[in-house]
């Protein structure tokens, strides 16, 4: 069951010069959405935009009827969203898309996230934490600003390890450099972030035969499976809004996926 709900902004927190955490109120979405899923969001007024924009759900608080989105400003829609003030309302169509699956008994979850790609993992790690599981969370960014919300993962009891390209926090370099150490035969991998990173993770996982779920970002027109704008190649073009955004990484034909957004 999906709905188009009007959600009120309760709180906005700036996380970096270009990223904000937005907390919205909606009983329906707080209850219905599952880690990995997303919403198609429409701004109040039209802001000169036509199409809705997809955002992953970051976290939910069922008791408080709240859900949050982590938004990075890259264009008109994201900038307008980051300018909202508490009390403003947006239309959220959702919950949409596939979910991350909990690791099977005996498997150790390892999460790899770059930049705003950490958004869907907050809710996922909360679910792991409730099931008394600890994930290794590998976070990567260009600089310390990009390592959003790492204290939240720590508070959830996750084993957080960071890299920055400028060395301002954690190990200097790319997040994939930490992967080798974190992986073994009992690992279950989860990833979301820039495509070059996902590709690296997918290659490593494949070489080692490690199960790997990946959340992909594609331009979306409808989010409902109707425009066929969001496709990803497996053995044919499949819709990332309905069959994804979370895929078993081994089904993706990465070489047929040029991915310029």
């Amino acid at each position: 069951m999906r709905r188009d709900v009007r959600a009120k902004l309760l709180e906005r927190r700036s996380l970096s010069p270009d990223a904000s955490l937005l907390e919205f109120e909606s009983d329906f979405l707080a209850n219905e959405l599952r880690p990995g899923q997303f919403t198609m969001l429409r701004l109040p007024g039209d802001e000169g935009l036509l199409l809705r924009r997809p955002y992953s759900f970051c976290d939910t608080d069922v008791a408080a009827s709240r859900f949050s989105l982590l938004v990075k400003e890259v264009g008109r829609g994201t900038r307008a969203l980051a300018r909202l003030v508490p009390g403003d309302e947006v239309d959220c169509l959702g919950p949409l898309g596939s979910t991350f699956t909990m690791p099977p008994e005996g498997k150790r979850p390892v999460v790899v996230a770059g930049g705003v790609g950490i958004a869907p993992f907050v809710g996922f790690c909360r679910a792991l934490s409730s099931a008394s599981k600890v994930a290794v969370v590998l976070l990567g960014g260009r600089t310390s600003y990009d390592l959003y919300l790492r204290e939240v993962f720590e508070a959830l009891g996750m084993d957080v390890r960071c890299t920055t390209e400028d060395g301002s926090v954690g190990t200097r370099g790319r997040v994939t450099a930490l992967l080798d150490d974190a992986l073994d035969a009992e690992t279950q991998l989860y990833s979301c972030g820039p495509t070059p990173m996902l590709l690296k993770v997918a290659e490593l996982a494949k070489a080692k035969g490690i199960p790997h779920e990946v959340s992909l970002e594609r331009r979306m027109g409808c989010g409902m499976g109707c425009c066929l704008g969001c496709v990803v190649y497996t053995s044919e073009y499949v819709r990332s809004c309905t069959e994804g955004p979370v895929f078993d990484a081994s089904v993706i034909a990465w070489d047929r996926d040029p991915h310029p957004l």
């Binding site: 999906r2 169509l93 409808c222 499976g225 109707c226 066929l228 704008g229 040029p258």
Partner: protein, 304 residues
Amino acid sequence: MKPDLSVSFARLHFRTPLIAASGTFGYGTEYLDVSDYEAIGGIAVKGLYLEPREGCPPPRIWETPSGMLNAIGLQEVGIRRFIDEKMPRLRELGPTVLVNICGSTVEEYQELAHILDSVEGVHAIELNISCPNVEEGGILFGCDPRMAAKVTEAVRAQTKLPIIPKLSPNVTDITVVARSVEAAGADAISLINTMPAMAIDVESRRPRLANIVGGLSGPAIRPIAVRMVYQTAKAVNIPVIGIGGITSHEDALEFILAGASAVQIGTMSFVDPSVWRRTLDGLEAYCERHDVEAISALTGGVLS
């Protein structure tokens, strides 16, 4: 008394004058939990060929001022799977079913029409001779009045179902194509399909779409579409279905006053799944306010 918002033409009955445009409403069931289907009079399904098609590589869409570009390239499941897997649910939904068909040759259109003629629950054939994103067929048929007539005539010979050629705006004089498909036996005409268009990312210097060019839809094309519906409705004696950038009852009324007997909504249904109910309620209120007993009385009512 409540105004009559149903429309009947070309041997078809639509419970409302609002039809879901081909390629924007899947195979009909995708919006069941979020849109009010009672407000939808008809559904034109995604364009179908004889065989399944892979479509264009991504990126396939890009937003432009008040519109969007798409080059989907008619990714579709093929007529057989459509009939076996999609028709059973589609025929139960309530809205009148228009099957949008596409071919690379006249013979393919003919065979599709022949197959559809005996399929229960198919009410009409919308002839897609206007898709800008396929290499052969598509828009080539729609831009040449002689070819458009040839396809229409060939399909006419295969089916008793109402035939509705869907025209491309990419022509010098839309009335020439319209008259030629009318003479070839079309029961109604729908227009417009998307407008061939292009956008470039200046940083990477690459086209925004992998297909380089795509079709423009949404409010950006509405005034062009209204003009073409106006010209077409004056030029032919068969009913016209207006399409292009409709977002509200005012927009729908523009098309109706320009000469449309019904309208289709495409891009806006992506943006607002409640567009159906909102537009229908708006039409009803308008009719009441203007003492109009039936929406059909407004067709062609623009004053000059």
